[in-house]
């Protein structure tokens, strides 16, 4: 057997034994965990939306409330205004199909995430101007979007392109993170490969506490709230 491997199994046993011995026969008394303080908000749907918008705007997130049948026009106008040449958008999700069906314009071009990233890494890093994804909902308290990347909308879509557009259904906003996890039963159904809360564009304050946006991730996060 591999000697390194044996040594590491010994480490596991040694660590666990020390921990079990350390506790001895004294049970630690632990106060009950009352989650009310991170759970109970009871905001109305309008309050939730307002709070979400205020919070995410305060960290440079851009929010547009649009009627459901208008979002493609809004997206087009925004892309034109920002001078974006192309948009990475899935072909296998509802909003991706809708967009492709109703996108009459030559430019900006629509790109698909067709290949595993190994086949087009430089192009993804250098040539994609923006990406559009859906999300699982949002959190009002912190102004956060919840994303569970999928084979159709992979992880790097919300990370590498400089601009990230997100579609959010207005009735999918939760008061708190705790409430969202509980209602969507995250722990019960098991977690995906990657789950994310995204609250604004990428930022840093590592140089003398001066805030700068767009350090490694997108420099712009644009949320289209579909009402």
């Amino acid at each position: 057997m591999n000697p390194g491997k044996t040594a590491r199994n010994q480490s596991r046993t040694a660590i666990l034994n020390r921990l079990r011995e350390g506790r001895g026969d004294q049970a630690m008394t632990v106060p009950a965990s009352d989650f009310a303080v991170v759970r109970d908000r009871n905001w109305t749907p309008a309050e939730r939306l307002d709070r979400f918008e205020a919070r995410i705007s305060s960290v440079n997130g851009e929010v547009h409330r649009v009627a459901r049948e208008q979002w493609i026009d809004t997206l087009y106008a925004l892309m034109k205004a920002k001078g974006l040449e192309n948009l990475l958008v899935s072909e296998d999700v509802e909003h991706g199909r809708e967009l492709r069906r109703l996108w009459p314009w030559e430019a900006p071009a629509l790109l698909g995430y067709e290949q595993p990233i190994e086949h087009w890494k430089p192009a993804m890093f250098n040539n994609v101007a923006a990406a559009l994804t859906g999300c699982l909902g949002a959190i009002a308290e912190t102004g956060s979007l919840m994303l569970w990347p999928t084979p159709q909308e992979p992880r790097l879509m919300s990370l590498v392109p400089p601009v990230h557009f997100v579609l959010l259904a207005a009735d999918c906003v939760y008061d708190t993170f705790h409430q969202a996890m509980a209602e969507q039963q995250w722990a019960q159904q098991g977690m995906p490969t990657n789950a994310l809360l995204i609250s604004g564009p990428s930022k840093t304050a590592d140089i003398e506490q001066t805030l700068a946006y767009g350090v490694h991730g997108p420099r712009e996060l644009v949320v289209l709230i579909l009402e």
Binding site: R12, R18, L19, V38, P154, L156, V160, W186, I198, V215
Partner: protein, 479 residues
């Protein structure tokens, strides 16, 4: 290994403190940063029942510690079910070797790193470099510190000791960027320099903020996106964490996240909260094909042996204790010479390096209590500082000490003095005699009593004892 230098650094605590205090640049950099962070934290908790939230944070961490061995096994099982390979390391060196072996097995030469204090603690970068593996930090602060060939001076803001001009000069010298006071330009330059590195990296190494036993999930808190790139772009991701970072349930993360970001930088939440529960699945188009979790003990299970010191392990590494510490704000992070500076460092590092190497740390505190008041998980830091002071002179005979190097400050002279005092003070006759002698020979007390008299005059016994004064007063009242 280079930990020897780390030890000698710690032992140079007083000279370092003096040179930091004489450096106005360091003092003003820290003063303004700490003032800003304290204000932001306070504003972020404005709408909150903060004390209730801290109770919950403490309860969640205590519950996790009370079941630590079981939760570690549960975490391991769930991670493995989801395809994450789990490794256990008793020491930092062992953890470094595990990571090296993973890199070697993949023929990896280039490693990109997200911020990880545990990897600083085990000096992973030096270790990998000695093995011919390039380890590049990608968090902007860590990147700056690495360019300067320094260590982080703060656990959340590694480059807080430098101002914009210093960083501009450093980047100009090391990477050829223009000198500029424009933080946007400096940030964009760093982004550009690191983009290729992300694409080329063979392995990404990150820390972990919370490891959820119930779901086998590794949680990372960050603003820049470098943590997400590190854990998504390279074909292999290695997460390294101290064994104490485990929590029981997914819902436990909610209060800890709420406390962590507000306590650390006064943000309601960071830009990214990244939850990783496995490697790329067959139908997924990105993400690493291999994910490893390295669980590092490195002294933590010894801390666990002591019911009181165990509270040290509650820490969620927010840095609020250093932001509020009057000592840290004046001397800065590097004066400590330890991976973790400030109050949390003073109660943690003695366990990791031994009191013989950290003898000055527990007493480098005014015991003002600010650290304990702001700690989001209610670690009684001042009480633990006092306990470690006792440990360093073997002052606690009630339990066998688990602190390496305990008793290091115990001296025969001090011990003899206390024994003599006990003998004198435990008999009224001897006590009176000794008191009387003190009043007679008070002129003979030494002028110079070590560090005490460096900034103060020497204490001198009074001309009359309390007994004499009381007797005199009684006589006056009667007459």
């Amino acid at each position: 290994m280079s930990t020897d230098t780390a030890h000698s650094d710690v032992q140079q605590f007083h000279p370092r403190v003096r040179s930091a205090l004489e450096n106005p640049q360091i003092r003003s950099n820290f003063r303004s940063a700490m003032d800003g962070l304290m204000g932001k934290r306070q504003a972020a908790f404005e709408d909150w029942e903060l004390e209730t939230l801290r109770d919950l944070g403490a309860a969640v961490r205590l519950r996790a510690l009370s079941r630590l061995p079981e939760l570690l096994v549960q975490l391991e099982t769930n991670c493995q079910l989801q395809g994450i390979r789990v490794h256990w390391a008793e020491t930092g060196d062992q953890a470094c070797e595990i990571i090296r072996d993973i890199c070697k097995a993949r023929d990896a030469r280039r490693v990109i790193k997200g911020k990880s204090m545990v990897s600083e603690e085990m000096e992973l970068n030096h270790f990998l470099e000695a093995e011919g593996i390039e380890a590049l930090e990608s968090d902007l602060g860590e990147y700056i510190v690495q360019l300067a060939e320094e260590t982080p001076s703060h656990i959340i803001m590694p480059a807080i000791h430098k101002n914009t001009d210093e960083i501009s000069d450093l980047m100009h010298e090391k990477t050829g960027t223009e000198r500029s006071r424009d933080v946007g330009y400096l940030t964009a330059s760093a982004r550009q320099q690191l983009r290729d590195k992300f694409m080329q990296a063979d392995v990404g190494i990150s820390g972990v903020n919370f490891a959820v036993a119930e779901t086998g999930t590794l949680c990372l808190v960050e603003n820049e996106g470098n943590g997400r790139l590190t854990t998504t772009v390279p074909p292999c991701h290695i997460a390294v964490t101290g064994i104490e970072k485990v929590v029981e349930h997914l819902e436990d993360v909610a209060p800890l996240l709420a406390l962590l970001t507000r306590s650390a930088t006064g943000q309601h939440i960071t830009t990214y909260f990244n939850m990783i529960s496995g490697p790329r699945k067959a139908d997924e188009k990105d993400g690493p094909e291999e994910v490893h979790l390295v669980l590092v003990d490195s002294g933590r299970s010894s801390i666990y042996q002591d019911q009181e010191l165990l509270d040290t392990l509650r820490c969620i590494r927010c840095g609020a204790c250093m932001n509020h510490c009057p000592v840290y704000a004046r001397v800065g992070g590097h004066a400590y010479g330890t991976t973790y500076p400030g109050p949390i460092g003073k109660i943690l590092m003695p366990h990791l390096l031994g009191l013989e190497n950290t003898r000055d740390l527990p007493s480098a505190s005014t015991l003002c209590g600010a650290c304990g008041e702001v700690c989001p998980v209610r670690i009684p830091i001042p009480k633990l500082l006092q306990r470690l002071r006792k440990e360093s002179v073997d002052g606690d005979r009630l339990r066998p000490s688990v602190v390496p190097g305990h008793g290091v400050k115990r001296t025969l002279k001090e011990q003899a003095s206390w024994n003599g005092y006990r003998w004198l003070a435990s008999d009224p006759g001897r006590y009176r005699l000794a008191g009387w002698m003190m009043t007679r020979f008070r002129a003979l007390t030494p002028r110079n009593v070590g560090p005490w008299t460096r900034y103060r005059t020497a204490p001198r016994p009074a001309a009359k004892t309390l007994h004499q004064l009381m007797a005199a007063r009684r006589r006056e009242e009667q007459s």
